[in-house]
């Protein structure tokens, strides 16, 4: 019984995304950011997007392209300090930004991906981060209720994929990718290398194929994926 083939062209994959979609993006800085999928989203120009990503990349990269092109209405993130445009647009009221502590962002995404409604944590008690969140008592401890964070789409960058959508990431390019891959209703993965089924040994799979809906093979990797000149 062969496993389904989910390979797809990049334009066709991104064309499923409509205006107003909630989109999760992988990546922590450059590693793991799906630049080619984002570039295609810029080319197609869907508007009013909610972007969920650890950070807003840097000037001239990834999320910054979407901001520059006026496609983002809302950003849910942990840190935008390396993107002056994102901070300016936030302070000018041009985009709304929800800051989430990094590990809570990861866990809320993981929670959605695991089919759960939420969890209780003590992170951020006594700070702005806890404001407006219900408090919950667990035994003799007090916590805050964190809700699961899902999305319509997840755009993932993988080092290797097979045609069924099993994925493997490289080094610190893993970060949020395996979490968002589980948390969206439709997950699109771009891969540097596409292998036949079995090309990634079963024990070596990071994201199992059932979480992935479409896999796009990247052509030669654009320069933006390379080592950044500072």
């Amino acid at each position: 019984m062969p496993l389904p083939d989910k390979t797809c062209g990049i334009a066709e994959a991104i064309a499923r995304i409509l205006d107003g979609a909630r989109i999760m993006l992988g990546g922590f800085g450059v590693p793991g950011t799906p630049f080619c999928l984002i570039r295609e989203l810029v080319r197609q120009g869907q508007k009013g997007l909610t972007i969920i990503k650890n950070d807003a990349n840097e000037t001239g990269m990834g999320v910054d392209w979407l901001l520059e092109n006026g496609q983002v209405a809302r950003l849910i993130t942990s840190h935008i300090g390396l993107n002056p445009r994102a901070m300016q647009m936030m302070n000018d009221g041009k985009i709304s930004v929800e800051f989430v502590p990094q590990g809570i962002l990861a866990e809320r995404i993981r929670c959605a991906g695991a089919g759960m409604l939420g969890f209780v944590s003590d992170i951020g008690i006594g700070t702005l981060m806890a404001e407006g969140k219900p408090t919950v008592r667990v035994g003799d401890r007090s916590g805050i209720l964190e809700t699961a964070l899902g999305a319509d789409f997840a755009l993932v960058h993988a080092a290797r994929a097979d045609t069924f959508g099993n994925l493997r990431y490289a080094a610190s390019a893993r970060n949020f990718n395996p979490l968002i891959a589980m948390a969206a209703r439709h997950t699109i993965a771009e891969a540097e290398t596409m292998l036949p089924p079995g090309g990634i040994a079963p024990d070596d799979v990071h994201t199992p194929g059932p979480f992935v809906d479409q896999v796009v093979l990247l052509p030669e990797l654009p320069e933006v994926y390379g080592v950044v000149e500072r």
């Binding site: 922590f28 800085g29 930004v97 995404i109 006594g126 981060m129 390019a173 893993r174 949020f176 979490l179």
Partner: protein
């Protein structure tokens, strides 16, 4: 200050260093010291920084520096990375500060309307590392104290800081208040008091110098 802070990193520890001054402490940690550096983006066992020619495009630390792997390095996703933090596996974190208060309150993630970088992983690091130390210049670029009686900026975490390293002194947060514990070479107690925005407990005995 960097050299003094490096002395608090001891063999056997798992340590997370914040972006900026905290990471610069590394240059004073002896190369042979057995320490596991954790990075929020999913690395335990961060190795030395590499130049551009030797960099691996997939391997950065949370500050964006190209780093290397060591024998025994592990990579993991961001949920696992913060499971390490929240479950108390970090022995020490060194963080930067906009303001730090005498009671250990820390503000280092937002100056509303002006500088709005966001907290990244700092809230969990500040709240959950077993020991939290701040490393900062004693005053800001306008000469105003960064150590204050009460933080005016939104907090990263209340009451989290145990020790403060500055270019003038080492201060410890105690139940009785902020204690002056060590002095930098050439700095007087009076100068530290003048540059500090909170009352300081000054021990009778001569203070160690660094």
């Amino acid at each position: 200050m960097l050299r003094r802070a490096a002395r608090d990193i001891r063999a056997g520890m798992t340590v997370n260093l914040g972006i900026g001054l905290p990471t610069q402490v590394l240059q004073y940690v002896p190369a042979g010291l057995a320490v596991c550096l954790h990075s929020e983006n999913g690395i335990a066992g961060v190795g030395p920084v590499l130049d551009r020619v030797h960099a691996d495009r997939n391997l950065i630390d949370a500050g964006g520096a190209y780093v290397s792997a060591l024998p025994g390095t592990a990579y993991f996703d961001s949920a696992v990375s913060f499971a390490i933090v929240r479950s108390g596996r970090l022995d020490l974190t060194l963080l930067g500060a906009f303001e730090v208060a005498a009671n250990g309150d820390l503000a280092n993630w937002i100056i509303p309307g002006h500088l709005t970088p966001g907290a990244g992983g700092a809230i969990e690091l500040a709240q959950k590392a077993r020991k939290v130390a701040v490393i900062t210049t004693h005053t800001d670029k306008h000469g105003r104290p960064k150590i204050v009686a009460h933080c005016t900026l939104p907090l990263t975490a209340p009451g989290c800081v145990q020790r403060i390293f500055t270019d003038m002194a080492v201060c410890d947060v105690t139940p009785d208040g902020l204690r002056l514990s060590e002095l930098a070479e050439g700095v007087t107690v009076a100068q530290v008091i003048a540059a500090t925005g909170a009352p300081l407990i000054v021990p009778q005995a001569p203070l160690p110098r660094f």
